[in-house]
């Protein structure tokens, strides 16, 4: 008996599900527009998320070019410098150390700047010797780098330690800011999806006022009346989520070609990172959840107002 009841209950839900889908199907244009609105609203934060993932990937590729320049004090001799180099080589967080003497630096500057003979007029070499340190890139958290930098700075022969890839850290910060921005944007757009679905359901309720009255007259409970509207919200959300999914797939396939070309010109193994499988599932699922919630809000507000007269 109980089994039969559960079976009846499930059967009724499936019937309502199919019934509401049929109703949506019979208004293809209006429904499609609703799907598009929901889809675009969901696709926007999702595509920004993908963009961010790709920037992150690029920045990790550049991690191994990060290096720290130690500008030595003017009076440091070459032997002192070589001693420092062998000392630093023993540090576990450092993978490579090289030394460029003051005269080498001057030579390099002469070549790069093209100031040539002008530099000869200087009474002494103004450039310091430089020790170039390559940190271990596996341990390259911004904090760890900062820590290493401060330890290098206080070495007796070092005048100044400078992280050449400070912009990398900035990129990371920008990335983090971007992530927060996307979260906020996602939240706002989710809210708009909620409102769009709520409004669509509200219109559906108004359209079916007489039907709701009849159902109430023959003994329909609010739960019974609510159910088809919740399923309508479910379908709008789910199908809107699928539209978002397709939109994302479409735009990414559009930019995939040019990106690969660009990457090959830079000799980079960069390939576009797509949404992971679970993220792809999250889109329709989020849509579905928002759909049911939006419908619930609309039904709660408007259903009690419709009573038979």
């Amino acid at each position: 008996m109980i089994n039969l009841n559960i079976k009846n209950y499930l059967l009724r839900h499936i019937q309502v599900m199919l019934f509401t889908l049929g109703r949506i199907w019979r208004q293809p244009l209006a429904s499609l527009m609703t799907f598009m609105v929901i889809g675009i609203a969901l696709a926007l934060p999702a595509s920004l998320y993908v963009l961010l993932k790709n920037i992150e990937q690029v920045s990790t590729q550049w991690d191994d070019v990060a290096q720290i320049s130690l500008f030595l004090k003017q009076n440091t001799s070459d032997t002192q410098a070589q001693q420092l180099v062998s000392e630093l080589k023993a540090w576990p967080e450092i993978t490579a150390v090289s030394y460029q003497s003051a005269s080498q630096s001057l030579e390099e500057f002469r070549q790069l700047s093209g100031l040539g003979s002008l530099l000869d007029t200087l009474p002494a070499n103004p450039l310091p010797g430089v020790v170039i340190v390559k940190p271990d890139s596996t341990d390259l958290q911004p904090d760890a780098i900062g820590h290493l930098l401060s330890r290098l700075e206080v070495l007796p022969d070092v005048e100044q330690a400078q992280l050449d890839m400070e912009w990398l850290q900035r990129l990371r910060s920008i990335n983090e800011t971007g992530q927060r921005g996307i979260s906020i944007l996602g939240l706002l757009l989710s809210l708009s999806v909620l409102l769009v679905i709520g409004n669509t359901i509200r219109l559906a309720i108004l359209n079916q006022q007489s039907e709701i009255r009849v159902i109430k007259l023959v003994g329909g409970t609010n739960t019974f009346i609510r159910r088809p509207f919740l399923y309508t919200g479910f379908w709008y959300g789910l199908l809107g989520g699928l539209v978002a999914w397709l939109t994302l797939l479409f735009t990414m396939s559009l930019i995939n070609g040019p990106i690969n070309e660009l990457a090959s010109q830079y000799n980079s193994q960069f390939t576009l990172v797509w949404l992971s499988g679970s993220m792809m599932l999250i889109l329709p699922f989020t849509g579905m959840l928002l759909g049911v919630m939006g419908a619930w809000l609309a039904v709660g507000r408007h259903l009690s107002a419709i009573e038979p007269t």
Binding site: N8, R12, R213, L217, V218, G219, G220, N222, F224
Partner: protein, 223 residues
Amino acid sequence: MITFTDVYKRYTNQYEALSGLSFELAKGEMAFLTGHSGAGKSTLLKLIALIERASHGQVLVNDQNLMRLPQGKIPYYRRQIGLVFQDHNLLHDRTVFDNVALPLVIAGENHREIGRRVRAALDKVGLLNKERNLPIALSGGEQQRVGIARAVVNRPPILLADEPTGNLDPDLSRDIMHLFEQFNQVGVTVFIATHDLELIKTLPYRQVVLHKGRLAKQGEQSR
């Protein structure tokens, strides 16, 4: 089955639709509710169907005190009452079958039982061959019979009708009344609001007559 004791119904604009109304309808009785337009016939039926609540007095239906029935119980209460309307109140985007099935679907009956009972009800009103039609494709009399089939499909003990023959010609009206008589004969309490005096004076049932919201007269109980 239905007992009104000193019932008043006032609307917010001070208009009094029913004043001090008392009457009783026995279980299994069939009666007509008559009176001029605005006498309070529809209001009275609405109080029984709990579409509205009385301002004062007591309404007992099938041993339930309607004044004390909480809002959430109303749907279940209404399942004991079959309602027939002048304008049928059918759902125009659903077939005749689906319209008649609605009370059973709401009550959560299983599929096979629904099919069986809907066909029995449609057979009773002579529309078994129209079950796949949309209401719009039926004549006025047929639509009214669909409405009646829907009202009786879950076998309620009480059948209320508000001007069920209001839009029908005399022959069709007589057929509809005959249908109500048949349900009454199997034990259903039937209460019909009508102003079709020509038709009901040929029928042997009690008349409850309203005048300006008061009971003008009520005939002898017919059984």
